[in-house]
Symmetry: C2
Subunit: 322 residues, 2 copies
Protein backbone atom coordinates (compact mmCIF):
# COMPACT_ATOMS: atom_id res chain seq x y z
CA UNK A 1 0.00 0.00 0.00
CA UNK A 2 1.42 3.40 -0.99
CA UNK A 3 2.29 5.48 2.02
CA UNK A 4 0.90 8.72 0.63
CA UNK A 5 -2.61 7.29 0.41
CA UNK A 6 -5.24 8.76 2.70
CA UNK A 7 -8.52 7.49 4.11
CA UNK A 8 -11.66 9.36 5.13
CA UNK A 9 -13.27 8.27 8.40
CA UNK A 10 -16.92 9.01 9.10
CA UNK A 11 -18.35 8.43 12.58
CA UNK A 12 -22.12 8.79 12.95
CA UNK A 13 -23.18 8.72 16.59
CA UNK A 14 -26.42 9.42 18.39
CA UNK A 15 -25.25 12.78 19.79
CA UNK A 16 -22.30 13.76 17.61
CA UNK A 17 -20.77 13.05 14.24
CA UNK A 18 -17.25 13.51 12.92
CA UNK A 19 -15.21 13.14 9.78
CA UNK A 20 -11.45 12.83 9.63
CA UNK A 21 -8.60 12.34 7.22
CA UNK A 22 -5.94 9.82 8.21
CA UNK A 23 -2.97 8.11 6.65
CA UNK A 24 -2.76 4.33 6.37
CA UNK A 25 -0.80 4.16 9.64
CA UNK A 26 -3.79 5.57 11.50
CA UNK A 27 -2.45 9.08 12.06
CA UNK A 28 -5.41 11.47 12.16
CA UNK A 29 -4.26 14.44 10.05
CA UNK A 30 -7.42 16.55 9.96
CA UNK A 31 -10.77 16.38 11.70
CA UNK A 32 -14.18 18.04 11.71
CA UNK A 33 -17.07 17.34 14.10
CA UNK A 34 -20.60 18.53 14.67
CA UNK A 35 -23.63 17.58 16.81
CA UNK A 36 -25.93 15.00 15.22
CA UNK A 37 -28.81 17.29 16.03
CA UNK A 38 -31.50 14.94 17.28
CA UNK A 39 -34.70 15.26 15.28
CA UNK A 40 -33.76 18.65 13.85
CA UNK A 41 -32.06 17.34 10.73
CA UNK A 42 -32.81 14.56 8.29
CA UNK A 43 -30.19 11.87 7.65
CA UNK A 44 -29.70 13.33 4.19
CA UNK A 45 -28.96 16.77 5.67
CA UNK A 46 -26.50 15.29 8.15
CA UNK A 47 -24.69 13.30 5.46
CA UNK A 48 -24.53 16.36 3.16
CA UNK A 49 -23.10 18.43 6.00
CA UNK A 50 -20.48 15.79 6.83
CA UNK A 51 -19.55 15.43 3.16
CA UNK A 52 -19.17 19.20 2.90
CA UNK A 53 -16.98 18.99 5.99
CA UNK A 54 -14.74 16.50 4.20
CA UNK A 55 -14.58 18.79 1.15
CA UNK A 56 -13.44 21.68 3.34
CA UNK A 57 -10.76 19.54 5.02
CA UNK A 58 -9.44 18.49 1.61
CA UNK A 59 -9.46 22.01 0.13
CA UNK A 60 -8.09 23.80 3.20
CA UNK A 61 -5.22 21.33 3.42
CA UNK A 62 -4.53 21.12 -0.29
CA UNK A 63 -5.23 17.38 -0.51
CA UNK A 64 -5.74 15.95 -3.98
CA UNK A 65 -8.66 13.51 -4.16
CA UNK A 66 -6.48 11.08 -6.10
CA UNK A 67 -4.73 10.29 -2.83
CA UNK A 68 -7.99 8.99 -1.27
CA UNK A 69 -8.24 5.23 -0.91
CA UNK A 70 -11.87 5.47 0.21
CA UNK A 71 -14.17 6.48 3.03
CA UNK A 72 -15.23 4.28 5.94
CA UNK A 73 -18.47 4.90 7.82
CA UNK A 74 -18.90 3.61 11.39
CA UNK A 75 -22.48 3.67 12.64
CA UNK A 76 -24.89 1.81 14.89
CA UNK A 77 -26.59 -1.21 13.33
CA UNK A 78 -28.63 -2.89 12.04
CA UNK A 79 -27.20 -2.17 8.64
CA UNK A 80 -26.29 -3.98 5.43
CA UNK A 81 -22.58 -3.85 4.68
CA UNK A 82 -23.08 -4.92 1.05
CA UNK A 83 -25.60 -2.25 0.07
CA UNK A 84 -24.41 0.24 2.69
CA UNK A 85 -27.96 0.89 3.90
CA UNK A 86 -28.52 1.77 7.56
CA UNK A 87 -31.75 0.51 9.19
CA UNK A 88 -32.92 2.55 12.19
CA UNK A 89 -30.20 2.05 14.82
CA UNK A 90 -31.53 2.54 18.37
CA UNK A 91 -29.49 5.74 18.72
CA UNK A 92 -30.67 7.15 15.34
CA UNK A 93 -34.42 6.50 15.18
CA UNK A 94 -34.94 8.75 12.14
CA UNK A 95 -32.51 6.71 10.02
CA UNK A 96 -34.99 4.37 8.33
CA UNK A 97 -33.26 2.53 5.47
CA UNK A 98 -30.84 5.34 4.62
CA UNK A 99 -28.55 4.50 1.66
CA UNK A 100 -25.46 5.94 3.38
CA UNK A 101 -22.95 4.33 1.02
CA UNK A 102 -24.66 5.68 -2.12
CA UNK A 103 -25.25 9.17 -0.72
CA UNK A 104 -21.65 9.68 0.41
CA UNK A 105 -20.23 8.12 -2.76
CA UNK A 106 -22.30 10.53 -4.86
CA UNK A 107 -20.97 13.44 -2.89
CA UNK A 108 -17.32 12.53 -2.33
CA UNK A 109 -16.71 10.46 -5.51
CA UNK A 110 -14.71 7.88 -3.58
CA UNK A 111 -15.70 4.28 -2.72
CA UNK A 112 -17.44 4.01 0.65
CA UNK A 113 -17.57 1.11 3.10
CA UNK A 114 -20.14 0.99 5.92
CA UNK A 115 -19.78 -1.08 9.07
CA UNK A 116 -21.51 -1.21 12.43
CA UNK A 117 -19.56 0.59 15.13
CA UNK A 118 -18.67 -2.48 17.19
CA UNK A 119 -17.22 -4.25 14.14
CA UNK A 120 -15.40 -1.11 13.00
CA UNK A 121 -13.94 -0.60 16.49
CA UNK A 122 -12.82 -4.23 16.53
CA UNK A 123 -10.94 -3.52 13.30
CA UNK A 124 -9.45 -0.34 14.77
CA UNK A 125 -8.24 -2.12 17.92
CA UNK A 126 -6.82 -4.85 15.67
CA UNK A 127 -4.91 -2.48 13.41
CA UNK A 128 -3.93 0.27 15.88
CA UNK A 129 -4.80 -0.77 19.43
CA UNK A 130 -4.71 -3.70 21.84
CA UNK A 131 -4.95 -6.38 19.16
CA UNK A 132 -2.07 -5.54 16.85
CA UNK A 133 -0.66 -8.69 15.27
CA UNK A 134 -3.46 -11.01 16.38
CA UNK A 135 -5.23 -13.27 13.90
CA UNK A 136 -8.13 -14.17 16.19
CA UNK A 137 -9.55 -11.28 18.14
CA UNK A 138 -12.82 -10.44 19.86
CA UNK A 139 -13.74 -6.89 20.79
CA UNK A 140 -16.60 -6.23 23.20
CA UNK A 141 -18.11 -2.91 24.12
CA UNK A 142 -19.04 -2.72 27.79
CA UNK A 143 -21.06 0.44 28.11
CA UNK A 144 -24.74 1.19 27.58
CA UNK A 145 -24.89 -2.13 25.78
CA UNK A 146 -22.59 -5.06 25.17
CA UNK A 147 -21.84 -5.31 21.47
CA UNK A 148 -18.99 -7.00 19.74
CA UNK A 149 -16.87 -7.59 16.70
CA UNK A 150 -15.10 -10.79 15.73
CA UNK A 151 -11.87 -11.19 13.75
CA UNK A 152 -11.50 -14.91 13.01
CA UNK A 153 -8.41 -16.27 11.26
CA UNK A 154 -7.56 -12.75 10.12
CA UNK A 155 -10.95 -11.59 8.84
CA UNK A 156 -13.91 -9.69 10.24
CA UNK A 157 -16.93 -12.00 10.48
CA UNK A 158 -20.27 -10.65 9.22
CA UNK A 159 -22.63 -13.62 9.18
CA UNK A 160 -25.67 -14.19 6.99
CA UNK A 161 -27.23 -10.74 7.42
CA UNK A 162 -24.60 -8.68 9.24
CA UNK A 163 -25.73 -9.76 12.70
CA UNK A 164 -22.63 -11.72 13.72
CA UNK A 165 -20.97 -10.44 16.88
CA UNK A 166 -24.08 -9.81 18.98
CA UNK A 167 -22.03 -11.11 21.89
CA UNK A 168 -24.07 -9.33 24.56
CA UNK A 169 -27.23 -11.16 23.59
CA UNK A 170 -26.17 -14.70 24.34
CA UNK A 171 -28.19 -16.14 27.23
CA UNK A 172 -26.00 -16.63 30.28
CA UNK A 173 -28.74 -16.97 32.93
CA UNK A 174 -31.96 -18.81 32.05
CA UNK A 175 -34.93 -16.75 33.32
CA UNK A 176 -32.50 -13.98 34.25
CA UNK A 177 -33.35 -10.26 34.24
CA UNK A 178 -35.18 -8.74 31.27
CA UNK A 179 -32.86 -7.33 28.62
CA UNK A 180 -33.49 -4.21 26.56
CA UNK A 181 -33.73 -6.53 23.53
CA UNK A 182 -36.78 -8.26 24.97
CA UNK A 183 -35.09 -11.54 25.93
CA UNK A 184 -34.23 -12.63 29.46
CA UNK A 185 -30.82 -13.36 30.95
CA UNK A 186 -28.73 -11.89 28.14
CA UNK A 187 -25.15 -11.05 29.08
CA UNK A 188 -26.04 -7.40 28.41
CA UNK A 189 -28.76 -7.61 31.08
CA UNK A 190 -26.17 -8.71 33.65
CA UNK A 191 -22.94 -6.86 32.89
CA UNK A 192 -23.61 -3.67 30.91
CA UNK A 193 -23.45 -0.21 32.46
CA UNK A 194 -27.21 0.03 33.05
CA UNK A 195 -27.20 -3.52 34.50
CA UNK A 196 -24.46 -2.60 36.95
CA UNK A 197 -26.45 0.51 37.84
CA UNK A 198 -29.59 -1.58 38.30
CA UNK A 199 -27.79 -3.92 40.72
CA UNK A 200 -26.61 -0.88 42.66
CA UNK A 201 -30.05 0.72 42.72
CA UNK A 202 -31.72 -2.48 43.92
CA UNK A 203 -29.21 -2.88 46.74
CA UNK A 204 -29.38 0.79 47.67
CA UNK A 205 -33.15 0.65 47.98
CA UNK A 206 -32.61 -2.22 50.40
CA UNK A 207 -30.30 0.00 52.45
CA UNK A 208 -27.08 -1.86 51.73
CA UNK A 209 -25.27 1.10 50.19
CA UNK A 210 -23.01 3.53 52.03
CA UNK A 211 -20.61 5.20 49.64
CA UNK A 212 -22.35 5.37 46.28
CA UNK A 213 -25.53 7.21 47.14
CA UNK A 214 -23.94 10.60 47.94
CA UNK A 215 -22.10 10.44 44.58
CA UNK A 216 -25.50 10.35 42.88
CA UNK A 217 -26.66 13.39 44.84
CA UNK A 218 -28.64 11.18 47.18
CA UNK A 219 -30.98 10.10 44.38
CA UNK A 220 -31.12 6.33 43.92
CA UNK A 221 -32.43 6.69 40.37
CA UNK A 222 -29.35 8.71 39.39
CA UNK A 223 -26.80 6.03 40.32
CA UNK A 224 -24.69 5.03 37.32
CA UNK A 225 -22.06 2.39 36.61
CA UNK A 226 -19.46 5.16 36.77
CA UNK A 227 -20.42 5.86 40.41
CA UNK A 228 -19.93 2.17 41.18
CA UNK A 229 -16.51 2.16 39.54
CA UNK A 230 -15.46 5.32 41.44
CA UNK A 231 -16.77 3.87 44.67
CA UNK A 232 -14.95 0.58 44.07
CA UNK A 233 -11.73 2.53 43.56
CA UNK A 234 -12.26 3.82 47.10
CA UNK A 235 -12.43 0.17 48.23
CA UNK A 236 -16.16 0.30 48.96
CA UNK A 237 -17.05 -3.39 49.51
CA UNK A 238 -20.59 -2.81 48.24
CA UNK A 239 -19.31 -1.50 44.89
CA UNK A 240 -16.61 -4.16 44.70
CA UNK A 241 -19.22 -6.88 45.18
CA UNK A 242 -21.30 -5.45 42.33
CA UNK A 243 -18.30 -5.39 39.99
CA UNK A 244 -17.51 -8.94 41.10
CA UNK A 245 -21.02 -10.08 40.20
CA UNK A 246 -21.12 -8.30 36.84
CA UNK A 247 -17.56 -9.42 36.09
CA UNK A 248 -18.40 -13.04 36.81
CA UNK A 249 -21.25 -13.01 34.29
CA UNK A 250 -19.03 -11.17 31.81
CA UNK A 251 -16.34 -13.81 32.31
CA UNK A 252 -18.84 -16.59 31.74
CA UNK A 253 -19.99 -14.95 28.50
CA UNK A 254 -16.38 -14.47 27.40
CA UNK A 255 -15.62 -18.11 28.28
CA UNK A 256 -18.43 -19.21 25.96
CA UNK A 257 -16.98 -17.04 23.21
CA UNK A 258 -13.55 -18.53 23.83
CA UNK A 259 -14.98 -22.06 23.54
CA UNK A 260 -16.67 -21.14 20.27
CA UNK A 261 -14.03 -18.95 18.62
CA UNK A 262 -10.68 -19.69 20.36
CA UNK A 263 -9.38 -16.10 20.12
CA UNK A 264 -5.90 -15.07 21.22
CA UNK A 265 -7.14 -11.77 22.63
CA UNK A 266 -10.44 -10.43 23.97
CA UNK A 267 -10.48 -6.63 24.12
CA UNK A 268 -12.99 -4.94 26.43
CA UNK A 269 -14.16 -1.33 26.14
CA UNK A 270 -15.55 1.42 28.38
CA UNK A 271 -16.23 -0.03 31.84
CA UNK A 272 -13.21 -2.36 31.58
CA UNK A 273 -11.09 0.66 30.65
CA UNK A 274 -12.45 2.77 33.52
CA UNK A 275 -12.47 0.05 36.19
CA UNK A 276 -9.34 -1.82 35.11
CA UNK A 277 -8.46 -4.79 37.30
CA UNK A 278 -11.43 -4.11 39.58
CA UNK A 279 -13.56 -5.78 36.93
CA UNK A 280 -10.89 -7.50 34.81
CA UNK A 281 -9.82 -9.72 37.72
CA UNK A 282 -13.34 -11.11 38.34
CA UNK A 283 -13.68 -11.54 34.58
CA UNK A 284 -10.41 -13.45 34.31
CA UNK A 285 -11.31 -15.64 37.30
CA UNK A 286 -14.62 -16.57 35.69
CA UNK A 287 -12.94 -17.27 32.35
CA UNK A 288 -10.59 -19.61 34.21
CA UNK A 289 -13.59 -21.40 35.68
CA UNK A 290 -15.82 -21.60 32.59
CA UNK A 291 -13.36 -21.99 29.69
CA UNK A 292 -10.96 -24.83 28.96
CA UNK A 293 -7.44 -24.23 30.23
CA UNK A 294 -6.02 -25.11 26.80
CA UNK A 295 -8.14 -22.35 25.23
CA UNK A 296 -7.95 -19.81 28.06
CA UNK A 297 -4.16 -20.11 28.30
CA UNK A 298 -3.66 -18.72 24.80
CA UNK A 299 -6.14 -15.85 25.28
CA UNK A 300 -5.30 -12.47 26.79
CA UNK A 301 -8.18 -10.44 28.24
CA UNK A 302 -7.26 -6.77 28.07
CA UNK A 303 -8.85 -3.32 28.14
CA UNK A 304 -9.25 -1.42 24.88
CA UNK A 305 -6.26 0.75 24.03
CA UNK A 306 -7.62 3.42 21.70
CA UNK A 307 -10.04 5.18 24.07
CA UNK A 308 -11.04 8.53 22.54
CA UNK A 309 -9.32 7.78 19.25
CA UNK A 310 -11.45 4.67 18.65
CA UNK A 311 -14.36 6.47 17.03
CA UNK A 312 -12.19 8.30 14.51
CA UNK A 313 -10.08 5.25 13.71
CA UNK A 314 -13.09 2.94 13.36
CA UNK A 315 -13.98 4.25 9.91
CA UNK A 316 -10.31 4.40 8.87
CA UNK A 317 -9.74 0.74 9.78
CA UNK A 318 -12.43 -0.39 7.32
CA UNK A 319 -9.90 0.22 4.54
CA UNK A 320 -7.07 -1.66 6.26
CA UNK A 321 -8.61 -5.12 6.67
CA UNK A 322 -6.77 -7.01 3.97
CA UNK B 1 -10.43 -27.38 -10.86
CA UNK B 2 -9.80 -30.14 -13.40
CA UNK B 3 -12.50 -32.77 -13.28
CA UNK B 4 -10.15 -35.72 -13.58
CA UNK B 5 -8.40 -34.84 -10.32
CA UNK B 6 -8.83 -37.22 -7.41
CA UNK B 7 -8.58 -36.87 -3.64
CA UNK B 8 -7.60 -39.39 -0.99
CA UNK B 9 -9.75 -39.41 2.16
CA UNK B 10 -8.41 -40.86 5.39
CA UNK B 11 -10.74 -41.38 8.36
CA UNK B 12 -9.11 -42.38 11.64
CA UNK B 13 -11.69 -43.39 14.23
CA UNK B 14 -11.52 -44.99 17.64
CA UNK B 15 -12.82 -48.37 16.42
CA UNK B 16 -12.28 -48.33 12.66
CA UNK B 17 -10.28 -46.56 9.99
CA UNK B 18 -10.85 -46.16 6.28
CA UNK B 19 -9.23 -44.70 3.20
CA UNK B 20 -11.03 -43.82 0.00
CA UNK B 21 -10.47 -42.30 -3.42
CA UNK B 22 -13.01 -39.73 -4.57
CA UNK B 23 -13.44 -37.26 -7.39
CA UNK B 24 -13.84 -33.54 -6.73
CA UNK B 25 -17.63 -33.91 -6.87
CA UNK B 26 -17.52 -36.19 -3.83
CA UNK B 27 -18.16 -39.47 -5.60
CA UNK B 28 -16.41 -42.23 -3.64
CA UNK B 29 -14.76 -44.36 -6.33
CA UNK B 30 -12.79 -46.83 -4.23
CA UNK B 31 -12.63 -47.60 -0.53
CA UNK B 32 -10.71 -49.71 1.96
CA UNK B 33 -11.38 -50.07 5.69
CA UNK B 34 -9.93 -51.89 8.67
CA UNK B 35 -10.38 -51.96 12.46
CA UNK B 36 -8.26 -49.43 14.34
CA UNK B 37 -7.15 -52.26 16.60
CA UNK B 38 -7.23 -50.73 20.05
CA UNK B 39 -3.89 -51.03 21.80
CA UNK B 40 -2.64 -53.79 19.49
CA UNK B 41 -1.04 -51.49 16.94
CA UNK B 42 1.03 -48.35 17.16
CA UNK B 43 -0.14 -45.19 15.34
CA UNK B 44 2.79 -45.67 12.94
CA UNK B 45 1.66 -49.20 12.11
CA UNK B 46 -1.91 -48.05 11.53
CA UNK B 47 -0.80 -45.19 9.26
CA UNK B 48 1.53 -47.51 7.32
CA UNK B 49 -1.31 -49.99 6.86
CA UNK B 50 -3.71 -47.29 5.67
CA UNK B 51 -1.11 -45.87 3.30
CA UNK B 52 -0.51 -49.36 1.90
CA UNK B 53 -4.27 -49.61 1.49
CA UNK B 54 -4.24 -46.43 -0.60
CA UNK B 55 -1.38 -47.81 -2.70
CA UNK B 56 -3.39 -50.97 -3.41
CA UNK B 57 -6.49 -48.95 -4.39
CA UNK B 58 -4.39 -46.89 -6.81
CA UNK B 59 -2.61 -49.88 -8.37
CA UNK B 60 -5.64 -52.16 -8.58
CA UNK B 61 -7.63 -49.41 -10.31
CA UNK B 62 -4.83 -48.17 -12.55
CA UNK B 63 -4.85 -44.65 -11.09
CA UNK B 64 -1.83 -42.48 -11.88
CA UNK B 65 -0.58 -40.54 -8.85
CA UNK B 66 -0.37 -37.42 -10.98
CA UNK B 67 -4.17 -37.21 -10.75
CA UNK B 68 -4.04 -36.85 -6.94
CA UNK B 69 -4.76 -33.39 -5.60
CA UNK B 70 -3.85 -34.46 -2.07
CA UNK B 71 -4.98 -36.47 0.93
CA UNK B 72 -7.26 -35.27 3.72
CA UNK B 73 -7.15 -36.82 7.18
CA UNK B 74 -10.15 -36.56 9.51
CA UNK B 75 -9.43 -37.47 13.11
CA UNK B 76 -10.41 -36.62 16.66
CA UNK B 77 -8.68 -33.59 18.19
CA UNK B 78 -6.79 -31.96 19.76
CA UNK B 79 -4.50 -31.59 16.79
CA UNK B 80 -2.49 -28.91 15.03
CA UNK B 81 -3.69 -28.29 11.49
CA UNK B 82 -0.49 -26.44 10.53
CA UNK B 83 1.99 -29.11 11.55
CA UNK B 84 -0.47 -31.97 11.10
CA UNK B 85 0.37 -33.44 14.50
CA UNK B 86 -2.36 -35.27 16.45
CA UNK B 87 -2.31 -34.96 20.26
CA UNK B 88 -3.98 -37.84 22.10
CA UNK B 89 -7.65 -37.61 21.11
CA UNK B 90 -9.95 -39.18 23.75
CA UNK B 91 -10.80 -42.02 21.34
CA UNK B 92 -7.13 -42.70 20.46
CA UNK B 93 -5.23 -42.58 23.74
CA UNK B 94 -2.03 -44.06 22.23
CA UNK B 95 -1.75 -41.22 19.70
CA UNK B 96 0.59 -38.93 21.63
CA UNK B 97 1.90 -36.18 19.33
CA UNK B 98 1.83 -38.29 16.17
CA UNK B 99 3.08 -36.41 13.06
CA UNK B 100 0.30 -37.75 10.86
CA UNK B 101 0.83 -35.25 8.05
CA UNK B 102 4.54 -35.99 7.73
CA UNK B 103 4.16 -39.79 7.97
CA UNK B 104 1.46 -40.00 5.31
CA UNK B 105 3.22 -37.50 3.04
CA UNK B 106 6.40 -39.59 3.23
CA UNK B 107 4.49 -42.67 2.26
CA UNK B 108 2.04 -41.38 -0.36
CA UNK B 109 4.16 -38.52 -1.82
CA UNK B 110 1.13 -36.22 -1.97
CA UNK B 111 0.36 -33.16 0.18
CA UNK B 112 -1.68 -34.00 3.29
CA UNK B 113 -4.13 -31.87 5.25
CA UNK B 114 -5.25 -32.85 8.74
CA UNK B 115 -8.44 -31.62 10.41
CA UNK B 116 -10.46 -32.60 13.45
CA UNK B 117 -13.46 -34.72 12.55
CA UNK B 118 -16.12 -32.17 13.51
CA UNK B 119 -14.51 -29.49 11.33
CA UNK B 120 -13.98 -31.93 8.47
CA UNK B 121 -17.61 -33.09 8.67
CA UNK B 122 -18.74 -29.45 8.67
CA UNK B 123 -16.81 -29.03 5.40
CA UNK B 124 -18.35 -32.23 3.99
CA UNK B 125 -21.91 -31.13 4.85
CA UNK B 126 -21.09 -27.74 3.30
CA UNK B 127 -19.77 -29.14 0.04
CA UNK B 128 -21.96 -32.26 -0.36
CA UNK B 129 -24.71 -32.29 2.27
CA UNK B 130 -27.25 -30.10 4.04
CA UNK B 131 -25.22 -26.90 3.70
CA UNK B 132 -24.58 -26.68 -0.03
CA UNK B 133 -24.42 -23.06 -1.15
CA UNK B 134 -24.29 -21.53 2.34
CA UNK B 135 -21.61 -19.01 3.29
CA UNK B 136 -22.25 -19.17 7.04
CA UNK B 137 -22.77 -22.64 8.41
CA UNK B 138 -22.48 -24.36 11.76
CA UNK B 139 -22.30 -28.13 12.07
CA UNK B 140 -22.83 -29.79 15.43
CA UNK B 141 -22.38 -33.42 16.31
CA UNK B 142 -25.00 -34.66 18.72
CA UNK B 143 -23.80 -38.07 19.77
CA UNK B 144 -21.40 -39.21 22.48
CA UNK B 145 -20.28 -35.60 22.64
CA UNK B 146 -21.34 -32.30 21.15
CA UNK B 147 -18.60 -31.02 18.88
CA UNK B 148 -18.79 -28.54 16.09
CA UNK B 149 -17.37 -26.91 13.04
CA UNK B 150 -17.88 -23.32 11.91
CA UNK B 151 -17.87 -21.97 8.36
CA UNK B 152 -17.96 -18.16 8.64
CA UNK B 153 -18.22 -15.97 5.56
CA UNK B 154 -17.14 -18.91 3.42
CA UNK B 155 -14.18 -20.20 5.44
CA UNK B 156 -13.63 -22.81 8.12
CA UNK B 157 -12.67 -21.11 11.39
CA UNK B 158 -9.73 -22.59 13.32
CA UNK B 159 -8.95 -20.09 16.08
CA UNK B 160 -5.65 -19.44 17.83
CA UNK B 161 -4.72 -23.08 18.46
CA UNK B 162 -7.27 -25.12 16.52
CA UNK B 163 -9.83 -25.13 19.33
CA UNK B 164 -12.54 -23.04 17.66
CA UNK B 165 -15.87 -24.82 17.35
CA UNK B 166 -16.02 -26.43 20.80
CA UNK B 167 -19.71 -25.61 20.72
CA UNK B 168 -20.71 -28.28 23.21
CA UNK B 169 -18.58 -26.76 25.94
CA UNK B 170 -20.27 -23.40 26.27
CA UNK B 171 -21.92 -23.08 29.69
CA UNK B 172 -25.71 -23.06 29.33
CA UNK B 173 -26.63 -23.81 32.96
CA UNK B 174 -24.57 -22.31 35.77
CA UNK B 175 -23.85 -25.03 38.34
CA UNK B 176 -25.45 -27.56 36.01
CA UNK B 177 -24.45 -31.23 35.80
CA UNK B 178 -20.80 -32.21 35.61
CA UNK B 179 -19.49 -32.53 32.06
CA UNK B 180 -16.95 -35.08 30.88
CA UNK B 181 -14.60 -32.14 30.28
CA UNK B 182 -14.56 -31.31 34.00
CA UNK B 183 -16.70 -28.16 33.81
CA UNK B 184 -20.30 -27.89 34.96
CA UNK B 185 -23.38 -27.08 32.92
CA UNK B 186 -21.82 -27.45 29.47
CA UNK B 187 -24.29 -27.95 26.63
CA UNK B 188 -22.74 -31.41 26.17
CA UNK B 189 -23.66 -32.29 29.76
CA UNK B 190 -27.32 -31.49 29.00
CA UNK B 191 -28.02 -32.58 25.42
CA UNK B 192 -25.53 -35.24 24.27
CA UNK B 193 -26.42 -38.92 23.96
CA UNK B 194 -24.99 -39.84 27.38
CA UNK B 195 -26.76 -36.83 28.93
CA UNK B 196 -30.10 -37.91 27.47
CA UNK B 197 -29.40 -41.42 28.79
CA UNK B 198 -28.53 -39.99 32.21
CA UNK B 199 -31.82 -38.09 32.38
CA UNK B 200 -33.63 -41.33 31.48
CA UNK B 201 -31.71 -43.38 34.04
CA UNK B 202 -32.39 -40.87 36.81
CA UNK B 203 -36.10 -40.83 36.04
CA UNK B 204 -36.25 -44.60 35.68
CA UNK B 205 -34.66 -45.12 39.07
CA UNK B 206 -37.42 -42.89 40.45
CA UNK B 207 -39.99 -45.21 38.85
CA UNK B 208 -41.24 -42.76 36.24
CA UNK B 209 -40.42 -44.93 33.23
CA UNK B 210 -42.75 -47.41 31.54
CA UNK B 211 -41.65 -48.01 27.94
CA UNK B 212 -37.90 -47.57 27.87
CA UNK B 213 -36.76 -50.04 30.51
CA UNK B 214 -37.76 -53.24 28.66
CA UNK B 215 -35.82 -51.97 25.60
CA UNK B 216 -32.69 -51.95 27.75
CA UNK B 217 -33.31 -55.53 28.86
CA UNK B 218 -34.67 -54.31 32.19
CA UNK B 219 -31.29 -52.91 33.19
CA UNK B 220 -31.37 -49.21 34.05
CA UNK B 221 -27.64 -48.84 33.45
CA UNK B 222 -28.04 -50.08 29.87
CA UNK B 223 -30.52 -47.36 28.81
CA UNK B 224 -29.14 -45.33 25.90
CA UNK B 225 -30.26 -42.24 24.00
CA UNK B 226 -31.28 -44.55 21.16
CA UNK B 227 -33.79 -46.27 23.46
CA UNK B 228 -35.26 -42.88 24.33
CA UNK B 229 -35.57 -41.94 20.66
CA UNK B 230 -37.25 -45.28 19.83
CA UNK B 231 -39.55 -44.92 22.79
CA UNK B 232 -40.44 -41.35 21.79
CA UNK B 233 -41.32 -42.61 18.31
CA UNK B 234 -43.89 -44.83 20.06
CA UNK B 235 -45.31 -41.65 21.66
CA UNK B 236 -44.06 -42.51 25.14
CA UNK B 237 -44.63 -39.26 27.08
CA UNK B 238 -41.68 -40.01 29.37
CA UNK B 239 -39.26 -40.22 26.43
CA UNK B 240 -40.87 -37.24 24.70
CA UNK B 241 -40.36 -35.14 27.84
CA UNK B 242 -36.68 -36.09 27.96
CA UNK B 243 -36.17 -35.11 24.31
CA UNK B 244 -38.05 -31.88 25.04
CA UNK B 245 -35.69 -31.08 27.93
CA UNK B 246 -32.51 -31.94 26.03
CA UNK B 247 -33.81 -30.16 22.93
CA UNK B 248 -34.55 -27.01 24.90
CA UNK B 249 -30.97 -26.82 26.17
CA UNK B 250 -29.69 -27.64 22.69
CA UNK B 251 -31.85 -24.83 21.29
CA UNK B 252 -30.52 -22.40 23.87
CA UNK B 253 -26.95 -23.31 22.96
CA UNK B 254 -27.75 -22.95 19.25
CA UNK B 255 -29.43 -19.59 19.92
CA UNK B 256 -26.20 -18.37 21.55
CA UNK B 257 -24.26 -19.53 18.51
CA UNK B 258 -26.74 -17.74 16.24
CA UNK B 259 -26.29 -14.52 18.23
CA UNK B 260 -22.51 -14.81 17.96
CA UNK B 261 -22.10 -16.10 14.38
CA UNK B 262 -25.37 -15.33 12.53
CA UNK B 263 -25.28 -18.50 10.39
CA UNK B 264 -27.78 -19.26 7.65
CA UNK B 265 -27.89 -22.95 8.52
CA UNK B 266 -27.19 -25.06 11.60
CA UNK B 267 -26.73 -28.74 10.74
CA UNK B 268 -27.19 -31.31 13.51
CA UNK B 269 -25.85 -34.86 13.44
CA UNK B 270 -26.63 -38.25 14.94
CA UNK B 271 -29.47 -37.84 17.48
CA UNK B 272 -31.10 -35.12 15.39
CA UNK B 273 -30.92 -37.43 12.37
CA UNK B 274 -32.38 -40.38 14.31
CA UNK B 275 -35.03 -38.47 16.23
CA UNK B 276 -35.97 -35.93 13.54
CA UNK B 277 -38.72 -33.55 14.55
CA UNK B 278 -39.08 -35.22 17.95
CA UNK B 279 -35.99 -33.26 18.98
CA UNK B 280 -35.79 -30.68 16.18
CA UNK B 281 -39.12 -29.15 17.17
CA UNK B 282 -38.09 -28.49 20.81
CA UNK B 283 -34.77 -27.18 19.49
CA UNK B 284 -36.46 -24.79 17.05
CA UNK B 285 -38.90 -23.59 19.74
CA UNK B 286 -36.00 -22.79 22.07
CA UNK B 287 -34.10 -21.02 19.29
CA UNK B 288 -37.21 -18.90 18.73
CA UNK B 289 -37.23 -18.02 22.41
CA UNK B 290 -33.51 -17.38 22.96
CA UNK B 291 -32.33 -15.89 19.64
CA UNK B 292 -33.33 -12.63 17.97
CA UNK B 293 -36.08 -13.01 15.39
CA UNK B 294 -33.99 -11.09 12.83
CA UNK B 295 -31.18 -13.65 13.24
CA UNK B 296 -33.31 -16.76 13.72
CA UNK B 297 -35.46 -15.96 10.67
CA UNK B 298 -32.51 -16.33 8.31
CA UNK B 299 -31.26 -19.57 9.91
CA UNK B 300 -32.46 -23.06 9.02
CA UNK B 301 -31.96 -25.79 11.62
CA UNK B 302 -31.73 -29.11 9.84
CA UNK B 303 -30.49 -32.67 10.36
CA UNK B 304 -27.23 -33.71 8.72
CA UNK B 305 -27.69 -35.11 5.22
CA UNK B 306 -24.62 -37.27 4.64
CA UNK B 307 -25.19 -39.91 7.32
CA UNK B 308 -22.90 -42.90 6.65
CA UNK B 309 -21.03 -41.09 3.87
CA UNK B 310 -19.92 -38.28 6.21
CA UNK B 311 -16.82 -40.03 7.49
CA UNK B 312 -15.48 -40.82 4.02
CA UNK B 313 -16.31 -37.39 2.63
CA UNK B 314 -14.85 -35.53 5.63
CA UNK B 315 -11.27 -36.05 4.48
CA UNK B 316 -12.19 -35.38 0.84
CA UNK B 317 -13.79 -32.03 1.69
CA UNK B 318 -10.51 -30.73 3.15
CA UNK B 319 -9.33 -30.23 -0.43
CA UNK B 320 -12.47 -28.44 -1.58
CA UNK B 321 -12.57 -25.48 0.82
CA UNK B 322 -11.47 -22.72 -1.50
Amino acid sequence: MMTDQLIIGVDIGGTKCAVCVADTSGNILHRYGEPTGGDDRSPEEILASLSAGVDRLLIENGINRSRLLGAGVSCGGPLDTTTGIIYAPPNLPRWQAVPVKRLIEEHLKVPVRVENDANATALAEWKFGAGIGARNLVFMTMGTGIGGGIIADGRLIHGANDLAGELGHQTVLINGPLCGCGKRGCLEALASGPSIARLAKDSTRQGRNRVVLPMAGGRVEDITARHIVESAKQSDPFALAILEEAGTYMGLGIANIIQILNPEVVILGTIAVHAGDLILEPIRRAVGEYAWKRSADVCRIVPAALEDRAQDLAGIALWLQE
